[in-house]
Assembly symmetry: C2
Homo-oligomer: 342 residues x 2
């Protein structure tokens, strides 16, 4: 580079605080907010600064939406399904059991009307959303003993939040709400029989394999969970147009980078877990079929009583079904042959 | 927005020409260059303008690397495997038969040393590369008659370029090099027995289904072909640092958008093709196994005689094998259950 910065000295200095729903220990998810912040700064000659804060430092991780809505922070990085208590339709922005995988989530967001559908939903909350990452299909969690049939599930206590927990409960499981830091001791003491977290890279760090040997897959309740950046609408409107554009471009970059980073980190992590004696197990078809049936029963029940859920669900379901059929051909058709047996 | 542009009037005006390897009719691929150009303009207050040109308007589509190297254009959007004649290692930037899928390609590029490996390779060509899109796993092309066994392949004339063609030729197929616009008449007249192009959305537009009813999958020679933006190094060094950063961010955005757009477009396109009487067929395991064996024989032979190929191939193969094993668990494990039978 032969020139210095090209930005006018007159450009306004803007400082935002970003509240993440995630601890720094989930470095790939938390890191997506840092990617956003760094790029926004670079793209504005250092004039638009976003400082990132982990869960709990400014607002609790599960209250980031409220914090942004009220203007406690200007921006958040969160999973909108944390707020299904406000409206179950929030889950479309993140994941639904037997919903979209990571590529399908991007396709729906950017070219399937998804971003707009979520913006419409969030207009009541005074925030605007931008896709901001994905973990890929998660794992099915850590189990102290093997389960094979639906009968084995009765009374099982599982740490699992959200709609996934609702589906499991229809299969006889008793879902437990436990924060990340308390899962390990609960699993160790047997207060819970199983616990789900994310995938190999993040699960390894919490050491669950030391207290529960069976590592199940697939994590059907989160086939491609998406994260979003959410911005207070008043603050958004105050931004110079150029800063808005920089934010939007940086968010898209953080989105693709977070998925790529997980896809680079998970393979060696699972290799290490297997060397530590972890036993991989797949949920039986009996369990998967029952879970799938229960999931769509929940969606149909919700659609019957929640107009904003139905408004998103109907075209989303069509999008999902068409995409499943076609990815089964060109993507799955390849992978079923080429990916090794497990 | 309450402010106008914040950029200094003193910022230099820079105009680049981008040569795409693709015609405008491949609107999703060509469109990725437009996404880059538009965002770069936005991020520089309109000072850095990139004008996009389709294949053949400034340089022929298959000579974009040469055009950028020589400075005929400052930037290109291309598939580096068009240049395997210069070095077979160019294919790592795009696709190898039985290589990486789209997510794995991003993981390798951004977090697996891929971008750096390709930059090292391209340093001899005076260009610098940036990931710039993906089509996803392609289809296996249009065939005038069904093929089941290896014996059926003997003497089959197939329009297929590159390493995919080399692999097919080891199975008895006679690969043909035919430009996009000439494929339809060749298939109609029977000059070729089969032809591959991209996937449902692009294939539909060329109308191949009217002259060859059997649509095979998977396109094992391109499980996740990546496109790249390549920039002349001298021109790159002349850019203000801010413009370089804007280019880099916009390229990442174009990368994620191109894949998302295909994933939104392919499903309805395949539905339409099936309504037009297209018969989906899967390559038999016998053929897939023979092709996979031939592919890795080619790579091993090349690695034995081409040091720059071997330098990328060895860690790439390890990355690929680990990723295949792990995606077989959390991604394929889900999709095998949830995606419908075909």
């Amino acid at each position: 580079s032969v020139f210095g910065p090209v930005y006018a000295q007159a450009a306004p200095t803007i400082r935002w605080r970003l509240a993440s729903s995630f601890p720094k220990s989930l470095d790939t998810i938390f890191g997506a907010a840092d990617i956003l912040a760094e790029r926004v700064s670079q793209l504005t000659g250092g004039k638009f600064q976003i400082r990132t804060f982990p869960s709990g430092e400014i607002v609790p991780g599960l209250q980031v939406l409220d914090g942004v809505q009220q203007g406690t922070v200007e921006v958040g990085h969160t999973a909108m399904y944390y707020y299904v208590g406000k409206n179950l339709a929030m889950a479309f922005d993140t994941a639904l059991p037997f919903g979209l995988n990571a590529r399908q989530q991007n396709a729906w967001w950017y070219y399937g009307g998804g971003i707009e559908a979520i913006r419409d939903l969030l207009s009541d909350f005074n925030v605007i959303n931008f896709p901001g990452g994905n973990t890929g299909a998660q794992m099915g969690g850590w189990w102290r003993k093997e389960i094979s049939s639906l009968a084995d599930l009765k009374g099982i206590k599982m740490r699992i939040p959200g709609i996934g927990g609702q589906v499991w409960s229809r299969l006889g499981v008793v879902p437990q709400a436990i924060a990340g830091g308390e899962i390990y001791p609960a699993l160790e003491r047997g207060t819970v029989d199983s616990a789900e977290w994310v995938g190999p890279y993040d699960d390894e760090k919490l050491g669950f394999y030391k207290v529960a040997k069976f590592y199940y897959y697939p994590g059907w309740w989160e086939p491609g969970p998406g994260l979003s950046f959410i911005v207070n609408v008043n603050e958004w409107k105050k931004l110079p147009k150029d800063y808005q554009l920089a934010f939007e471009a940086a968010a898209a970059e953080a989105n693709v980078h977070m998925m790529a980073k997980y896809d680079a980190q998970n393979p060696p992590a699972l290799q290490r877990l297997l060397k530590n004696g972890v036993k991989l197990r797949k949920f039986s078809n009996e369990i998967l079929k029952a879970a799938q049936k229960a999931a769509f029963e929940i969606y149909e029940e919700e659609a019957a009583k929640n107009a904003s859920f139905k408004k998103i669900y109907t075209p989303w379901k069509k999008f999902r079904d068409e995409s499943y059929r076609v990815m089964a051909v060109h993507e799955l058709g390849y992978e079923q042959f080429a990916f090794p047996g497990i």
